[in-house]
Each structure stands twice: as structure tokens, then as C-alpha cells.
């Protein structure tokens, strides 16, 4: 029987072993040891010892104003409206929300899982609604968009799923982090059987998500021209760390991807898939989750990152509760304030100073909801 250690226990063990290794090392080797220690425990809370890296970057944070902002919508899981219009209504509401932002954001980022079962009509319904956004759209693919026709329709609508762009001095990278090894051919699955398998939680048949070797190579090359202090924001559908494998809140080659990002002073990774307030920091990498417009997931039963302030239980009478959209405020230093615009709740902002201070400053409030 597996014994799950609490995140605190794992953290204390890691911290102890780290300090043992730290003796008699100069700063250069110190970073190497840290990297090794991190790789050994990837997916766990980051060791406390990395704090100095960002404390310097954070000087004068209080007066900092965001350089620009973009909005996000994610995880709409559309069925055809004749089958089930609840999720269609959710996406409509999000578009209405974002269109009413004043001033308008620089662009709107869509975080993946536009469709529920990858069907042509689902993707077309989504595309039609998203066309009504006033601001330009940037979009990422999710597994629900992909595994019926292996991305054919999605790519017809939106092109390559892996790309990068620069905006106001920040380098944005969009990955397809839901690449799975072929589990279907040997089993003789139909496309729909494959899709249904990927769409399920707790389904051991499917392979874990990866970014994959090809994209990792692409990423390495795409970032090669950038200096170590470049401002980089990476989008991935699944979290680029290992949170909870049975639900695919997980990227199997996260360690390798993180290693590519390691040389940067700081990197922000924004992911969909988890439909909840989710905050993590590993070393120089700051992770933020996105809300879904379709439904909120419960939190993983173990391994939750320490920095996450969990939202309270959604109201079962209110199908929108725990859903929403949001904004990302990008500061001149490349770090972001992440705004979770929860429908029917007060917005929650997870500020860059909260992560930079390892949760000591600007702690976000727990979502305000009277119990009943």
C-alpha cells in the first residue's frame, strides 16, 4: 500500500537534505545541487532556499504598475447546443464579460478544451462564439479538442498548436502539452473510443500527457536567442509540473521542460485543464491555473502546492459557481498578477509579490462565501 506523505513532510525532508548538500559549496555549485535536488522531487513544493533569486527582482514592487494586460477564457467543453447548451451559455457569458472590460485587454488568450469530444460542430460552435471577441484571440489546444481526429479540425481553424509571439517586450510561448503515446492502435480503438478514453478522469488506459521530444527541441531553439533575463510567459494546457497523475493534472516530461526554462531569471507558466484557483512556484518558475467556463474541478486529494489558496466548495444550486474567466496583468519585470474573475463571487487576485515572497506578502483572500 502506498503511503502518501503530506506536502509539509515532503517539504521538510527535501529542505533537510538540501541543507546537508549545501555544506562546503560555492554559489556556482550551489545552483547545480539545487537543480538536482529539484529534479529529484519535481512536482513538490520548491525548496525554500531559492528565495533569494526573486527577492532582488522584487525590489520596489509596490509602485510597479502593469505594463499591459490580457484576458483569458478557458475550458468551455462545448457540446453541440442542441445536445447541451449549458456550456455554450458559459462561453457566451465569458465573451460578454471580456467584451465589457474597459479598457479592452491587449488580447484574449483561450486556454484549451474548447470542445468536449473534439467534434466538428463543437469546435465550430466555439469558433463562432469566439469570433465575437472585440480583442484579438490567441488560442491553445487541449486534449478534448484533439483526440477525435488528432487535431485535424482544430488545426484547420487555428493552425499550428505550437507557436510563439512577442508582445511589448515579453516572449510568449504556446505549447501543446497534451501529447500522448499511442495507446489506441494496439487496442483497435475507434476515434470516438480514443476520444472518450482521453476525456475521462481516473482512466488508466490512456498515456500521461507530455510535451514530447519534438516540442522540447523546438522550445529550446525558440528560446535560444533570448538572454537569461528575458521576460518569458509559457502557456501549456496541462500544468507543467506533476500534481496528480490519476486526473492527468500532470505533464510527464515536466522536469525536462523545466530544465529548459531553468536558465531564465524568472518564467511565468499559465495553464488550463484544472478549472480552479491553482498557484505554484518551483524555483524560478511561477505557475498559475485558469478557471474553466464549464465547471470547477475539485482539488486533487494529495500533493496540492503550498501556495494555492483553495476556493471554497461551489454552490450546488448555482451551476456557474466556481466558473469564470479572468485577466493577467503583466508587470515590467515579466511577473504577473493573476486575476480570477469568478462569476457570482468576488474576483481573486494572486499577485506576483505573493509568489515572489513565497506566500509571505499580499496573501489573496479566501473567496468570500457564507456557509449555509
Amino acid at each position: 500500500m502506498t503511503i502518501f506523505k503530506s506536502i509539509e513532510t515532503k517539504y521538510m525532508e527535501e529542505r533537510e537534505s538540501f541543507f546537508r548538500g549545501l555544506q562546503n559549496l560555492d554559489r556556482r555549485s550551489f545552483l547545480k545541487v539545487s537543480g538536482a535536488a529539484l529534479a529529484a522531487t519535481a512536482g513538490l513544493a520548491a525548496p525554500h532556499s531559492f528565495q533569494p533569486v526573486t527577492v532582488a527582482a522584487d525590489a520596489g514592487a509596490a509602485e510597479s504598475k502593469p505594463a499591459f494586460r490580457f484576458a483569458y477564457i478557458s475550458d468551455s467543453h462545448l457540446y453541440e447546443r442542441d445536445v447541451n447548451d449549458r456550456f455554450v451559455r458559459g462561453l457566451l457569458r465569458a465573451v460578454d464579460d471580456v467584451n465589457n472590460l474597459d479598457p479592452q485587454p491587449d488580447f484574449v488568450f483561450y486556454g484549451g478544451d474548447l470542445a468536449q469530444l473534439g467534434q466538428v460542430k463543437e469546435l465550430e460552435t466555439g469558433a463562432q462564439i469566439l469570433k465575437n471577441l472585440k480583442a484579438p484571440l490567441r488560442i491553445m489546444v487541449g486534449e478534448h479538442d484533439w483526440y477525435l481526429d488528432m487535431g485535424q479540425k482544430w488545426q484547420e481553424l487555428y493552425g499550428e498548436p505550437t507557436y510563439s509571439f512577442d508582445h511589448k517586450g515579453v516572449h510568449f510561448v504556446v505549447l501543446n502539452s497534451v501529447v500522448e503515446e499511442d495507446f489506441w492502435t494496439a487496442r483497435g480503438m475507434t476515434p470516438m473510443e480514443r476520444m472518450m478514453t482521453v476525456a475521462g478522469l481516473d482512466n488508466g488506459l490512456q498515456s500521461p500527457f507530455t510535451v514530447g521530444e519534438a516540442q522540447r527541441k523546438w522550445l529550446q531553439e525558440d528560446l535560444a536567442k533570448l538572454p537569461d533575463d528575458a521576460r518569458v510567459i509559457v502557456f501549456s494546457h496541462s500544468p507543467l509540473y506533476k500534481l496528480y497523475k490519476p486526473w492527468n493534472f500532470w505533464t510527464d516530461d515536466a522536469d525536462e521542460v523545466q530544465a529548459i526554462l531553468k536558465r531564465f531569471k524568472q518564467v511565468v507558466v499559465i495553464h488550463g485543464h484544472t478549472h480552479q484557483l491553482l498557484t505554484n512556484r518551483i524555483d524560478n518558475i511561477y505557475f498559475h491555473g485558469l478557471l474553466g467556463t464549464a465547471w470547477p474541478w475539485p482539488y486533487a486529494p494529495e500533493g496540492m502546492p503550498e501556495l494555492t489558496i483553495e476556493m471554497s466548495r461551489p454552490d450546488p444550486f448555482n451551476p456557474n459557481d466556481g466558473c469564470g474567466d479572468g485577466e493577467v496583468h503583466v508587470h515590467p519585470d515579466g511577473l504577473v498578477d493573476k486575476v480570477y474573475n469568478l462569476w457570482n463571487r468576488n474576483p481573486v487576485t494572486v499577485s506576483r509579490t505573493y509568489l515572489a515572497s513565497w506566500g509571505k506578502q499580499d496573501v489573496p483572500p479566501k473567496p468570500n462565501r457564507p456557509s449555509y
Binding site: 451559455r89 465589457n100 469570433k131 465575437n132 454552490d315 444550486f317 459557481d321 457570482n344
Partner: protein
């Protein structure tokens, strides 16, 4: 015959009703069909003398305290403030104050002007009339059964009846007294009051006790004895087949029970929470209003200012937001109690819906889409028959002592609804068009 049973369960009850009320109730006016016999004052309310006499028949003064035993006694006790235990003296004092127009600046308005005994303890007007016939922006909620409300006013800005009662007297649109002292001065010369205050609270007349006395009196306005309640107590014949089908819908397809739960402990049909169902969204820009409100509240967010803004300005359309200044509360109003709803038209915080058919039409189309719409509100696809059944249920929530008025009001609303259903939108109700779709697609059109 079916109709008779619907509102008055069985011949024995009809007889009791009649004996108890005499002919008085058959003469009470209803909106749109005022009975000529009811004497009215310049603001249209039944005269104080008439109301007091009617109330004495409905709840004889000697039995007022006892009347509250219709509520679950444990629950009721929890709603009585520690410093205002219910006594006959306090209720008697409150009753006198409730009907006293001297508490208004020009002597034309009392509590009973807007919470009229002959009109379901409301004024049956969209917005209430105050001194100088000024019109307030809020619909007067009923004072009947208000004892079990957790907060008062549509935006819940007051925590209790005792506290609430002190506000309208000082509101410039409602009763217009400039301060508590002036209000007390207006009745200080009345020796009866001097004595009544002493008997009730053992001290000299003061404004806090004035609020307490009115609160105590209002706690005795218990009108629970409806056909619906009798049905729930086991009398299957108390409700028509239509109303029984409506009860199924209320708890199921129509989703009413999510916010209007009715249980023995909480018979009011309110969850006491605040929801944006989009009523004000029909004619207000919430974002613009909220910005204005934050400026106004930064200057002055006192109790009295909130009261003035709520009754006198469009900022009141922001509802609960004015109290909490939280985004989630924009355009949200407290779920009203729904007992006696048949005789308290028009409906909603601004009285903008004339009939219960309009109310169901509003919910059937998924409310009015806006950025703050409560997520529990969605299109219901109710058929005309189902709408009628729900309305039948709602008219069965009226206390049997108002059975005749209820029946007349049912017929009036039914006739009005046959003429005009301004809110009805079948395309939205049946989801041919989805909520937010018009807003989103409309935005596109205006850009082109």
C-alpha cells in the same frame, strides 16, 4: 366549486372565514379594482380608522402575542431581540405608532400608508408614495410575516425589524422627519404615548424604544394559514390539482425552491440571500452606476445616506452592492418572502412586474442576462399550462383570512395577463436563443 375549494378548504372553513371577518374583507380594495366602500386618504391608503378596525378583526389586540405561536416557537424566539421580549404592552404601543401619521413631516404618512392592512400590508404600488406625494424607487415589501426575515429592506441594509422601523421616518422621501428628536417631538404631547412607553419599556419615550415597539407589533403580523400550509399539514383537498402540479414544478423543473425554500422552520419561502436575477438590468448600466456609487459612498456611507440613496436615486438599483461594495453583489436583492404573494402585486424590488404571470415569464426566459446574473437562473422551458399551475400554487400561499381579496386579485391578474404579457419570451424560454447570445452577437453587430 373547484375554485371555492382551491382558496378555502371545505365548507366549514368558509363558514369560519365568514363569521370571523364579517363583511369587512369583501369590501377591501385591490389594485385596479378599488372597492368604493373602503374610505381612503389623500395618498390612496385605507384610512387609519378603517385599517385599525380591520386589523382588530383579523388579529384582536388581546391575541396578538399569541398569534406568533403559528411560527415554530424555537425559531420565532431566535428572531426576537434580547432587549425586546414580546409583551402585550409593547405590541399595543407599536400598533398605535404604526398607524400614526404624526410621525411624518407633513402628517400624511404612517407605516400603514405603504404597509396597508387592506392591501396585503403593502401599498400595491410599483414605488411607494411619501410626503408631498413623492415617489420612492423601491416597492414596499409586506410587513406580514416579516418577523422571520434575517435582514430588512431589499438590500438587507438593516439587521432587524426594530432597527428598520426607525429609517423610513427619517427618509426625506418617505416620512421626512429631519431627525429622531423631531419625530419624538411630534408625539411627545400625547399623554397616552407617555404612559404607553413607560408601561412598555419602563422609561421615558425615546427613539430606540419607538423602533422596538414598532418591531414588536410587526412580529405579531402572522398570516401563515394558507391553503398551501393546510395541504402540507396533510389536507390533500386544500389545494387544487393545478396548485399541486405547481408545487411539483416549484421543487423541480421551475427551480423555484433553490432560492425560495419552504419548510416548517422557514415557512417564508426565502433563502435570505441576495441574487441578481436581472430585473434592474432591463434599464440600468450596472458598471456605470457602480462607478458612481463608489464615489458617492466614499463621501458618505452612513446608515442614513444608504437609506436615502436606496429610496431616492438610481444607485439603489445596485442593490446589495451599496451595502457591501462587493462586485458579486451588484444588482443583487434579497429573496423576498412569498407568503401572501397573491395580494401584494406589483412585484420585484422596483414593482416593475404587474402580475405573477409576468414573474414566471421573467424566470422562464432565464432572467435578464447581465454580467452579474446569478448562475442559478437559467431558461426553464415552462409551457403555458405549467405557468398557470405555478401561478395557481402562488395564489394558494395567501392566508385564508384574505381569501376573497386573493380570489379577486387572481381574477384581475389573470385578465391583465390575458391582455398583455410584456416579459414573455418563448424563444429564450425554449432556448432557441440563449441568454447572453443577443448581448454577445449584438456587440458584434454594433462593431460592424
Amino acid at each position: 366549486m373547484e375554485r371555492t375549494r382551491f382558496f378555502c378548504s371545505g365548507p366549514w372553513l368558509a363558514a369560519v372565514c365568514f363569521a370571523l371577518l364579517g363583511g369587512a374583507l369583501s369590501d377591501t380594495g385591490v389594485a385596479g379594482q378599488p372597492a368604493a366602500e373602503v374610505p381612503r386618504d389623500e395618498l390612496g391608503a385605507a384610512t387609519v380608522a378603517y385599517q385599525a378596525e380591520l386589523l382588530a378583526k383579523l388579529i384582536p389586540e388581546a391575541e396578538a402575542v399569541k398569534a406568533t405561536s403559528a411560527f415554530d416557537p424555537v425559531v420565532f424566539a431566535a428572531y426576537v431581540p434580547e432587549d425586546n421580549a414580546l409583551t402585550a404592552e409593547r405590541v399595543a404601543l407599536g400598533r398605535k405608532l404604526y398607524f400614526d401619521k404624526r410621525l411624518s413631516a407633513d402628517g400624511t404618512v404612517s407605516c400603514a400608508t405603504c404597509h396597508d392592512v387592506t392591501r396585503g400590508f403593502t401599498d400595491q404600488l410599483p414605488g411607494s408614495l411619501g410626503i408631498g406625494k413623492q415617489v420612492g424607487k423601491r416597492n414596499a415589501p409586506t410587513t406580514a410575516n416579516a418577523a422571520l426575515l434575517q435582514t430588512m429592506f431589499w438590500d438587507g441594509r438593516s439587521p432587524s425589524l426594530d432597527h428598520q422601523a426607525k429609517q423610513p421616518i427619517l427618509n426625506p422621501i418617505e416620512m421626512g422627519m429631519s431627525n429622531p428628536e423631531e419625530a419624538l417631538k411630534a408625539i411627545a404631547g400625547d399623554a397616552e404615548y407617555q404612559e404607553a412607553f413607560k408601561k412598555a419599556y419602563g422609561r421615558e419615550m425615546n427613539y430606540e424604544d419607538l423602533g422596538r415597539a414598532i418591531g414588536a407589533f410587526e412580529r405579531t403580523l402572522v398570516f401563515l394559514d394558507s391553503p398551501f400550509r393546510r395541504f402540507m399539514a396533510g389536507d390533500a383537498s386544500a389545494l387544487s390539482a393545478d396548485a399541486q402540479a405547481g408545487w411539483e414544478l416549484f421543487n423541480g423543473k421551475a427551480r423555484c425552491a433553490a432560492c425560495h425554500p419552504m419548510t416548517p422552520a422557514n415557512p417564508l419561502g426565502s433563502d435570505h440571500r441576495f441574487h441578481n436575477i436581472g430585473v434592474a438590468a432591463r434599464h440600468q448600466d450596472f458598471e456605470g452606476l457602480a462607478k458612481k456609487a463608489l464615489v458617492a459612498l466614499a463621501e458618505d456611507s452612513s446608515e442614513q445616506k444608504l437609506d436615502e440613496l436606496a429610496i431616492g436615486t438610481d444607485l439603489g438599483e445596485l442593490g446589495r452592492f451599496m451595502v457591501t461594495r462587493k462586485r458579486m453583489d451588484i444588482g443583487a436583492f434579497r429573496t423576498p418572502l412569498i407568503l401572501n404573494i397573491g395580494i401584494t402585486a406589483p412585484y420585484m424590488h422596483d414593482g416593475s412586474l404587474a402580475t405573477l404571470w409576468d414573474v414566471i415569464d421573467h424566470y422562464n426566459k432565464g432572467g435578464e442576462a447581465n454580467l452579474y446574473l446569478d448562475g442559478g437562473i437559467e431558461p426553464l422551458a415552462l409551457t403555458e399550462k405549467e405557468i398557470d399551475q405555478l401561478v395557481a400554487l402562488l395564489f394558494s400561499l395567501t392566508d385564508v383570512r384574505f381569501a376573497e381579496q386573493n380570489q379577486r386579485e387572481f381574477e384581475r391578474q389573470q385578465a391583465a395577463a390575458q391582455q398583455n404579457r410584456p416579459i414573455r419570451d418563448e424563444g429564450l424560454a425554449l432556448r432557441r436563443t440563449l441568454p447572453f447570445e443577443q448581448r454577445v452577437m449584438g456587440a458584434k453587430k454594433s462593431d460592424q
